[in-house]
Amino acid sequence: MKEVVFSSPFFGISISIFAFAIGTVINKKTKIALLNPLLISYVIIIAFMVIFDIPLEWYNNGGDFINLFLTPATAVLALTIYRQRDLIKKNFITITIATFVGSLTSIISVVALCKLFALSDTLTYSLIPKSITTPMAIAVSSSLGGIQSITVLTVIITGISGNILAPLLIKLFKVDDPLVQGVALGTSSHAIGTSKAVELGEIQGAVSSVSLTFTGIITVVLSLFVTYFI
């Protein structure tokens, strides 16, 4: 009985939607950035699975269905880029330089902090591509000799922290310009950060989409040289 109910795809889909809806309401009511809809969803779903002893595979039956939508959701970012094409064209060089600086900063700061925490080289390699979207990050990680699952973990942590912290950083450091917000979000926290950029506004969404693409490509290229300076 328990397996029939909880291993149905409808379980994973329903609990995900309800958890996210609850998260969205709490976030809107409290207006506290740290009470992020995604973060609340994870707490609700994981707590539910622990309390009722539901294995991850059962949840994934529905979760995989939602996951499938990540590809089209990323693809239609093209529409926001298209709507803001004049702004993007005008700032193309600015975005290129900034994403290059961001990608380089990401790699250097990861390597430095890994040294500080005395992590192994394998772990360092796994963390290097943390700022780029999952499939690209996995490719970089495995070509360097990292561990895939750790890379996936850090990519998600990065995206979520960008999504949650961006509104705070914007307020704290008075980052008012939508162009600046967009580049910073897309470069620092890939598609999950971009979903926050889309919420902030169309300019932010468009610029963030372009930035996440550039950052991915630049990081793949930079990773070829990484072994020289570790």
Binding site: Y82, S106, V110, F117, P135, M136, A139, I147, V183, A191
Partner: protein
């Protein structure tokens, strides 16, 4: 029917993205290839905004939601990093803040030097 056609257009582009992604020797994900394809089709006028508007707006306005399962799945990886998970979480958060600020500062500096964007 309109929405069904829009879904078919977007999903076909994703399919093309997946096909191209396996063909090219660089690790570019299907979603990014589909994004570039769609952008080219929009810029060349092959696809009009009206052809995909409702479906796209649905996906974009709910974008964060689609990351829910990806985050839940992360719990299976926690086992592999038992001893160092705290370091990984800290590094993940701190470097994200550093990159965000470094990038924002770079854009601000460029805009200041070149004298605005508009």
């Amino acid at each position: 029917m309109k929405i069904l056609i829009q879904i078919a257009i977007v999903f076909s582009l994703c399919l093309a993205g997946e096909a191209i992604s396996t063909l090219i020797p660089f690790p570019v994900p299907a979603s990014i290839i589909a994004l570039i394809l769609l952008l080219i089709l929009l810029l060349t006028g092959v696809i009009k905004v009206d052809h995909i508007k409702e479906k796209s707006d649905f996906l974009l306005s709910n974008m964060a939601f689609f990351f829910v399962p990806a985050g839940v799945k992360v719990i299976e990886h926690f086992d592999t990093v038992k001893s160092v998970w705290l370091a990984i979480v800290v590094i993940g958060i701190v470097t994200t803040v550093i990159v965000f600020l470094a990038t924002a500062l770079t854009v601000k500096l460029i805009l200041k030097v070149t004298g605005g964007k508009k």
